[in-house]
Amino acid sequence: MNLFSILVVSVISMAQFEKLGVLELWLPERGQPQANDKPPDIDEALLNLTVIITDKGVTIGAGGGFQPTIYYQEEVEYRSRSDQHVFRKVYVTGEEVKSPTDGKVMSQYERETIMLNSVVKKDSADPGTYQYAAIDPEGNALMDTAGNWYATVPPSGALYRVVGDETLKKMDPRTSAFCKVEKLSAYQEVAKTLEKIHLLYSQRDPLPADVDDVVILADESVIYDKVIQMMDACKSAGFDRVALSLIGGEV
């Protein structure tokens, strides 16, 4: 019976429960237009921040113009349904992906993880080079006090912070042992840029009415997961009111 007790407890402790959550979407209120309605005055102070997702990169635009595009390379981890084989491949639009074990063509629903690796490019024709950064056990890229990514794991005692948390932390040997250098995610790069913009605009006097607002503009072929990850990046940068829109349409 004692053995049984230990067995039951150990089996339960190994079990993983999936916790569900909800991401709130902000929908601007829209009234019924009246015949004698005048078009609203354009408020120059408004930020009108927009994050545009395309298949090559992410561009942040606002009332004053556009930030340089954050280019990425899409790497997909597939899990074959036929033999559960897992493999990674750089995603090329329109290219047929086959499982290396049985040659079966992979469907879009066999994509297990989609990684957007940040790439530094001079222009759109440049193939570019990957950006690397030290990543903590929670998957957050680490920044130094000047707001630059740590290219190596920070030594013990070094100060660091992550996007969405202004608190500077001191690296301890235990955390340092769990950190590793990986390809920097484009979501982290976008979140860092958005955080700077949010900080800049939240110091304005008077405060712009849309200081916490951002619109994500995506192409219809973009995968839902990318939109959700981008919503996460916006929220971590301090933009709590995230609206969605479609390139060439409105939602």
Partner: protein
């Protein structure tokens, strides 16, 4: 004939102390793992929800729309194939709009009758993470048109352990 004496075996008493111990441990563990918040919403079977770090705990839900690889389902009622939604040009999905309009009307009536506190127009949408954004926008537009302006996306919480 000699009478055979039947020796009565002493009755084995069931020792339930260990069993009770096991159940107490299991009970405590499950109470700790499954919060009351998490049990209000359940994930659909045929889809993989996207992961999110910034999600909130689900509250009371009045309506759930599920878009998996094959079907669009509203409150456990399969309405149409996902592929049909992708192929259509219109932003409004007719079968979904019909049922949503009906449900929104029922919700408003229930508010008038005092059966519910407020007709909030809350809807939770569950989509497979590999769903094209095109399908998501069509369903969202349909929700908005039917009066469901409080849209929430169901996600899996990242870095959460049971």
């Amino acid at each position: 004939m000699a009478k055979r004496k039947i020796k009565r075996q002493p009755e084995a008493a069931l020792i339930i102390t260990s069993l009770v111990d096991v159940f107490v441990i299991v009970l405590v563990y499950l109470i700790r793992s499954i919060s009351s918040e998490g049990s209000l919403m359940t994930s659909a079977d045929n889809l993989v929800l996207p992961m999110s770090q910034r999600s909130k705990s689900p509250t009371e839900i009045s309506l759930t729309i599920i878009g998996d690889q094959k079907h669009i389902t509203v409150d456990d009622q399969v309405l149409m194939e996902t592929e049909v939604v992708r192929k259509q040009d219109s932003l409004l999905v007719k079968p979904v709009l019909e049922i949503l309009t009906k449900k929104r009307e029922e919700e408003r009536k229930a508010e008038v009758l005092g059966l519910i506190k407020e007709a909030t127009g809350k809807v939770v949408v569950q989509f497979d993470k590999n769903t094209p954004y095109d399908i998501v926008t069509k369903i969202m537009a349909t929700c908005g048109y039917a009066g469901y302006n409080n849209i929430k996306f169901a996600v899996s919480k990242k870095n959460e352990e049971g």
